[in-house]
Amino acid sequence: MIKNAFSKTQIDRLGDRLKGDPHTESDLRLLDDYRRSFGEAYEAVIRTIRQRGEFPTGRLAKSTFSIVEKLRRESIRLSQMQDIAGCRVVVANVVEQEHFVASLRIDFPRASVIDRRDKPSYGYRAVHIIAEISGKPVEIQVRTALQHLWAELSEKSSDVLDPTIKYGGGTDSWRSFLTSSSEAVAAYEKGAAVHEVFETSYSKTVGAHEKVEKATAELLERHIPDHEVQEIRGKLEDSTRKIKRLKQRIEESREEKVRLWTVNADLLNKMISWLDERRLRGQKQ
């Protein structure tokens, strides 16, 4: 039977004991009961997100391994941990990320939003929303595909190269790769967002221009006064010039986007070469 009411003191004492080694079976069972008490809050969050048409991958509860690691690494108490239960949504780009985060703010108006995009944590960039249901926090990670790739690189290299990488440790070369790659991803995503703004603006302007052209043709058939014809033609010329300028900007922003991506791709290729060299020396991958 799962106990739903735990006192803060009881949980924090459990957390203190878990910092040590070895763990007793009764502590692991108590931790498991505590984790399961987040079940209903987790379900409510997942249901809400699915209603938005997204299918997150849910982590029903943080693993004992990760909980113990976090307790030992940080000064956090077990009762303060906000990511016991959580889920992850990976969206295509920052524009989609903004839209999705905005919809979560509506769904969970009292949730706290941790935006790590401009102030990354050891290079990690994403938006985390902590929704609280009946006093139980549930963490929703919203990452773009590139933020996600970077996070997975950081996590995987922490697994197999050095567990401190995720928190700023590891060899100078690997840390430098990850830091530079995180910055390159951020720059690319900003560039890509600018490009998308121009694309959207262009298609709207072209749509409006076509409507004006059609309306003008109809007016001209009605033999309207010359000054009105000139006024309409002037507006059409303005609109044509605007379209031309936007086309130019789209081209420039596309080139910039590709250039910014190349910076990150070059870094990833350097990391591959670095790993290949380690492999040749018989070092762990």
Binding site: T57, V90, L153, K257
Partner: protein, 82 residues
């Protein structure tokens, strides 16, 4: 679907995995606890994680780290078409 994964972090590899239907959540949670207790008795430091996703493909997109090595992760990024 629910996926129960036992992962060896330092090796970067899945040790065991088992899938459950959505209706088997309690069974999945009990299995996770049993594996954790067993690993604790043996003194083995593996991560045991319970994840829920629409499909295995979806899980492999959001949690690639469990399924591919560092090389494959890097290559998936450098080969992206922008």
């Amino acid at each position: 679907m629910i996926f129960l994964i036992e992962y060896n972090r330092s090796e970067g590899q899945i040790v065991t995995s088992r899938d459950f239907d959505d209706s088997q959540r309690l069974e999945a949670e009990n299995s996770r606890l049993e594996i954790e207790l067993d690993l604790n008795r043996k003194g083995v430091d593996h991560e045991v994680v319970l994840l829920e996703a629409a499909s295995k493909d979806a899980l492999q997109r959001t949690h690639r780290r469990y399924f591919v090595d560092l090389h494959q992760l890097l290559k998936s990024g450098s080969g992206q078409d922008v």
